[in-house]
Symmetry: C2
Subunit: 222 residues, 2 copies
Amino acid sequence: MRIALLGGTGDIGEGLALRWAYHTDHEVVIGSRDPEKARTKAEEYETELDSRGVERKVTGFANEMAADRADVVVLAVPAYHAKDTVEAVADRLDAETTLVTPAVGMKRTDDGFRYNPPKAGSVSQLVARHVPDDTPVVGAFHNLAADRLANLDVELDLDTLVVGDDGDAKQNVADLASGIEGLRALDAGPLANAAEVESLTPLLVNLAVNNEGMHDVGVKFE
Amino acid sequence: MRIALLGGTGDIGEGLALRWAYHTDHEVVIGSRDPEKARTKAEEYETELDSRGVERKVTGFANEMAADRADVVVLAVPAYHAKDTVEAVADRLDAETTLVTPAVGMKRTDDGFRYNPPKAGSVSQLVARHVPDDTPVVGAFHNLAADRLANLDVELDLDTLVVGDDGDAKQNVADLASGIEGLRALDAGPLANAAEVESLTPLLVNLAVNNEGMHDVGVKFE
């Protein structure tokens, strides 16, 4: 499978790129608005993997090129860039592409972090409005601490929650998630349930702030 | 410590009553709008505990009487009864009473369960508007499956999240939570962070519905 990580140069994108390249055989393509940055980062990921004895080709392109002919496109950009980014690649998406959205709208207040969804109800639902009608959208990977995900020395032992209206696309993304060692995918239902999944992210940040030793806290459902 | 469980005849109240009576030495008082029902349930809990070799006095009263002279009052009623119940006992509350609110507003849709907070932002904040000014309010025990909590054969091994603006009251409730074997209390910050805690409950219901073997699912933060 060819996985394109748009915004794959930073934050959650780096972690997913490294983990998929490390734990699976899927082709990993890094996208960025700046193709030079994408290439540089892809090389950094290759070097990181090589240092662990894993020889893997990771390529970098402008987002549009990265999305082209990808089986799965992950919109690993901040929530406020989600709409623009998906619109920029929309003509590369079709019924055969699954669009995955991990972004969460949050705002910081004096008391802590708040869930701050767009008018569509959730970032996942906002994104679904801007893809071609036949492109399935799946929400996943919202609740993973980026540093922990990107550190291949750390065993994850975490859950991620998957929402979507297309059963096959959702299963495909659940399988991709499970391909990462120590990550379990759970089904949180249709895309309309995305807000409750996304709002877990500000909660995790609040727990990290208010409890010792929880800097990169994640979640398990038992 | 004297703990009054208003609405302690059903759902989450039963589980907390049994667990506190079983695992701690705190005095457990059951409240209900119907004092006869409170007494009957209190006797049932005593019988259940006795069958496990634990001889404990559990008493039952009308909510107002149960709240009287309690150190901690738990508002273990459905969200739509929270305001009425706290108003009914408000004259029994003072600076020495901690009011604990575990209720969550949810609505069921065709797709799944949604968080449905009151205009105050969360049930916890709504409740805080209706207690005397000097009574500290702490949100806790939102995300525990009632059946699992009430079944003393089941080891919990779960987390509960505590929110509140009064540090001492919050610590007191965290200690009460930790008194229950297998339950860990984590600090989710001030009461203004309650919505992200409460909205975890519909998410848990959605996971229970969409995944095998997760009927009584709870959460751990790791």
